[in-house]
Amino acid sequence: MNRLNQLPTLRITPSEKLSLNYRGKTVQGVAGDTVATALFANGVRVFARSLKYHRPRGLYSLDGECSNTCMDVNGVPNVRTENTLLKDGMVVREQNVKGSADRDWLAFIDKLDWMMPAGFYYKTMHKPAAIWPVAMKQIRKAAGIGVISADYQMKGQYDEMFIKAEVTVIGGGAAGMTAALAAAESGQRVVLLESRPHLGGCFDYRVSTTAEGTPLYERARDLAEKVKLTGNIRVFKHTSMVGAYNNNLITAFQVGKASDTFTERYIEIRSDSVVVATGCIERPLIFDHNERPGVMQVGCAHRMARTYGLLPGSEAVFSVGHDLGLEAAVDLFDLGLKINCVADIREDGQNPELMLALAERKIPVLKGWVAAKAHGCKKVEKVTLSTVEGTVKRQFPCDLLVASAGLTPVTGPFILAQAKMGYDSHTGYFLPTELPEKMFPAGRITGVNHPGAIEASGRLAGLKAAAAAGADVGKTVAEAEKAASVLPGPERGCKLVTAPVKGRKSFICFDEDTTIKNIKQAIEMGFDVPELIKRFTSAGTGPGQGGIPGHNLPLFVAKYTASISTPVPTTVRPPLVPTFLATYAGYNHHMFKHTPLHDSQIADGGIFRNIGVWQRARYFSADFDCREEILNVRNNVGMLDGSTLGKFRIHGPDALKALQRVYVSDMSKVKEGRIKYSAMCNDDGCVIDDGVVVKLGENDYYFTTSTGRAGQTVEWIRYHTRFDGWDFSLVNLTDAMGVINISGPNARKVLSKVVDIDLSSEAFPFSGYREFLIKDAVFVRAMRLGFVGELSYELHVPSSYTQAVWDLLKEAGAEFGIRNFGVEAQNVLRMEKCHVILGSESEQRTNLLDLGLGFLWDRKKADAKTVGAVALRQAEKDAGRLKLVGIRMEDDDRPARDGALIVDNNVRGYVATMRKSFTTGQAVGMALVESQLADIGTRIEIFEDECNGVRLYARVVATPFYDPKGERMKS
């Protein structure tokens, strides 16, 4: 197909050839082409088949409001080829066809529409019930458009940027550019977003002139040049705005050029104010077969010629409702298109100059006429025009039917910003009845169409936005207002809802193949709200994001439903433009915290797991039962990285009061040089945290929390003291301190090689706390704890020194055979001692008493209003609670799995943790059971998953299982 290569408006570079593979053949396009225009240049007219009826579909709007040109590009489904720039070597395939788009075996379905009225699937295929599974399979196969393979790997670089702007202008047409320039005058940082690859909007392809006689395309290029030269305007072309959130947070994504380092990038803009200059799309004209290939909108036909140099047909009929249609007819005629007739829906109100131009070219014009039916299947062959009332009809041959009912503003950004939308009876648009805060409309979205008025409204909006963002704009707003007021205001819009047709083949939504007949059926069935009709008929829920039915559906419902007098708009939801998950995901960082010992734990062969926000070494060998790790702690000495523990300091005059509030124990009894183990409960008495507290001085404490709770502890304490006005400071030292746990009978021997203080049991007993320096340099807080049930030291070391201290201990322990143990070994070791881990032996409803930790609770400190104390008092008398008990299997070689149920005829509890203990040779564990089953000696019945009715048995036994007197940990 020959291109109009010399037009000054072109956005293609005809000399720069690109090739693409289409259905196995290589075809040529040129730089600047979209995939669809390149295919069109190669004679392709049918791009896809429709979802339900497999009707042939062609170029319609060029802006992606429908799935007509959705194709598979490089294995990516549902690519809107009409606004995807062609890149060399693209592989393009048709979707949803059996055969090809041109010859689709499933095209016969179009004849079966009578079987498929609105919502037919709700009324069929369920009688008898056995049909449904079979029918469902067929529905699944038939539904969907594109295909993605399960192992598909998306190629490309996906970038993200988070920027700040005083003013964001959405839309780079004349109004948007003028707004950006006006806002930039006052020095504001301005961001300008344009969805097409170039600025210019509706001026870009038009040769009609401004009041000064400059062709609009030239004017657009002048403005673009000014924008380019303005340092404080940051322009993002080929960038679609997709979301608007509270406080003018705007999201968008940009498609990268061949020279860019990114394929697409997600952009998030925190903007003080926003100008919406998104302009208009066209309101589709509804008539019979209104979506046949060869039927296209005015802007599409015009831009095909002016932007891409492709005459969209040879012989045309126009059916329009707006002066832009007449303008396009004149211009396309001059470019060589034969025009058999222009039907204008409007009886009057046409621009006389355009009427004169049409008359000069001897193009017949029918006022008050509209297209009623397009003939032909894979391409338009002729058209029946009719008077708007349907009284008289005439036929014209054509291979191009330019059809448009008028304009519809792109108000998505306003709707996303929670604007209430109302019907404006002058323009026929849905416009915001009240503007969202600091958001201003500019250009054609306000209803103006006069080029001067478009620019004037842009300037006004730009200045208002700058003022809203805090700029001193002086009297300029008033001046701009005055300038705009003398220019033509919003134009009266064409109100025609549909051509005079019955509507069986008149499509209101192309993506979902919804006809106006379907809408009528829905209304008759009681669906009288457009939003409900949308759900029932799926109109507007397809890949086009409702661009085709968005305006027409509410108009039609209002026209057809007696009870609705004013059209009610439907909702638009983000993203306004379909957006790749890859683009939203961006870099997709993995965000886990690493302990100071992370690298050495890896070097030592640690097998890591994610635990909350941390990554921790769970195992140190492929033996996930951890036999060697466990026995080494029991018989020798092991080291554990415990750095993930929550660590806090609380100090200030009311520090003790705060601790009294949240801990169940009497914290005034914490002695210096000793550690105290205690727990925190919530208002239900359920345990939410446990840890140790150390007194550093008067009203100065250091305490630990469980790994999972660390992030919430500060808030927890603040929250529960919020009405008291207490004076204390709380410092989260979790990341500032590393923790090394050294445990086992030889722990003292190892540690004594590294520190100078007296480590004897008398000088540093169990439950003791000491501070000292290692190598006269590294400050250490040391605690003697017994979590794993052996002689054990927990060293809290500043993070930057943790590795050094670890290495010293490792070296010192070499002669004893010191080795790492991981979280799983610790889990078994502490289980043998029946020390609980919250979340493992407890769940949400488990309270302090249930865990057998009631001894921690001091009932006398009533004045502290201990969180949870009221509930604990009540629970003391409650027999219907689960209790934590120790259990031992009757068969020591068959431990029940964690999570197995304890049952009789009902569920009575469950196994929290159970292991075959290497130390004792017994299968032992802890279980939460109903209190009636908690007595020692009770035989309990265990139901495991996949047990096939075979139950296991165990008995409640005394705890702990290992070293019941605690001699080893106190040694």
């Binding site: 295929m125 998950l581 359920c686 939410i688 409803r845 049952v903 998953d945």
Partner: protein, 407 residues
């Protein structure tokens, strides 16, 4: 044209001045209760009062997943019954609810999660509900798109596979129940707002609406996310419910890719393919209480990041639409179903969080029984409001209490 179109749930009717029962909220629970009241208990003089249109709230916003693999013995039988009712209702209502019992796969990403799953599975099996623990490889066989490699944020250890679960077309349930209720004589009053509940001597006497007063001895509030607010404002009963916005989204329609519902707690993310071919996905809630149903910028981004990890082929697919609904959360993730306690004739059915859809059929049946007889059926007894006063949380969630609006 095969069928003549006629109003699905009756013509618009006049609001009568008196009804035997009034149900506030034209969502799934209200419609189901009305349906069963009329059908099973002969209580046909029932009005449903709906402020907007039926299915406006959670009924039309959920992602339609149904399952019966809850955690406790109180919940599993209720949801099992609900699950079993889908084919029954399809037949009874003569309306295709499009139950796709494709099975649910719940991914586990740690040893601790596998343990938790084992308990849930044992509970299901104990109650005769099919559910199995499978390893990552088996999960991949069921869902070939799954990424079971080690180098993702939360590597997949295994999954809980629950074959009887699946997806039901949620809008169809709304319309089908409305159709069924109307057929048995229930009046559905849309665009009618309940503004007050009248009591006298500890008994319900009537409901005030934007279209006039209704005398009635029984009222059920089942208004989804709006229930707690309504109950407080109308009767002064404060419920331990925090209302949060929860968001969901769909991709563009695709040919069959996912044959099961797949979800991941660690990623806060689930995905299933609707019969239309869209991948419906969503999961966690806003972390602050709000009634806005507004979308937030980072939710959709989070979702894309999560899916990029565990269903990486979806990176080549586009999000098409995101929306929000309300989840009315109780402290123990289990609902409140109660009645005849504060006032004789006052019933409530709320606090469903994001479980309201999967339970609606069975709950409608039992709430109807409750309202018709005045006595609480055994199935609903554990869900009374007093359990919170007694610090007897139900244990439906294993998660330790964290710093949430409930604390």
């Amino acid at each position: 044209m095969f069928w003549k179109s006629k109003p699905l749930w009756g013509n618009k009717t006049r609001l009568k001045s008196s009804y035997d029962a009034v149900i506030i909220g034209g969502g799934l629970h209200g419609l189901a209760t009305a349906y069963y009241l009329a059908k099973e208990h002969g209580l046909t003089d029932v009005a449903i009062i709906e402020k907007r249109f039926i299915g406006f709230g959670g009924a039309g916003r959920n992602t339609a997943i149904v399952r019966a693999n809850q955690r406790t013995q109180y919940n599993v039988p209720l949801y099992k019954e609900a699950l079993d009712l889908w084919p029954v209702l399809t037949k009874e209502l003569d309306y295709n609810l499009m139950f796709n019992n494709c099975g649910n796969l719940n991914l586990m990403h740690s040893e601790a999660a596998m343990k938790a799953a084992r308990m849930t599975i044992a509970t299901a099996q104990f109650h005769g509900v099919e559910s199995h623990l499978i390893d990552a490889k088996q999960a991949k066989e069921l869902v070939p798109a799954l990424n079971i490699s080690e180098d993702i944020t939360f590597p997949i250890h295994g999954a809980m596979f629950h074959p009887p679960g699946g997806i039901v077309r949620h809008d169809a349930v709304v319309w089908g129940l409305a159709k069924g209720a109307a057929k048995h004589g229930v009046d559905i009053h849309q665009h009618t707002e309940a503004t007050a509940i009248h009591t006298e001597g500890g008994k319900i006497t009537g409901v005030e609406t934007s279209r006039g007063r209704i005398h009635t001895p029984r009222v059920l509030v089942s208004a989804g996310g709006y229930s707690a607010g309504l109950i407080y404002h109308m009767l002064g009963i404060k419920l331990p419910i925090a209302v949060l916005t929860i968001q969901a989204m769909v991709t563009q329609p695709l040919k069959p890719l996912l044959d099961h519902v797949v979800s991941s707690g660690a990623y806060h993310c689930y995905a299933n393919q609707t019969l239309k071919g869209e991948i419906a996905t969503g999961a966690h809630m806003d972390q602050w209480p709000n009634y806005t149903t507004q979308n937030t910028a980072h939710y959709i981004k989070h979702q894309a990041e999560a899916l990029s990890d565990w269903l990486p082929c979806l990176r080549g697919v586009k999000f098409m639409r995101i929306w929000g609904g309300l989840a009315d959360m109780t402290p123990d993730m289990a609902p409140i179903m109660d009645g005849n306690d504060h006032y004789e004739g006052f019933y409530m059915d709320c606090g469903w969080g994001y479980f309201g859809f999967k339970s609606c059929s069975a709950v409608g049946k039992y709430m109807a029984q409750y309202m018709a007889s005045g006595h609480c059926p055994d199935m609903l007894k554990p869900f009374n409001l007093r359990r919170y006063e007694n610090h007897q949380l139900m244990g439906e969630t294993a998660e330790l209490v964290s710093y949430t609006p409930n604390n």
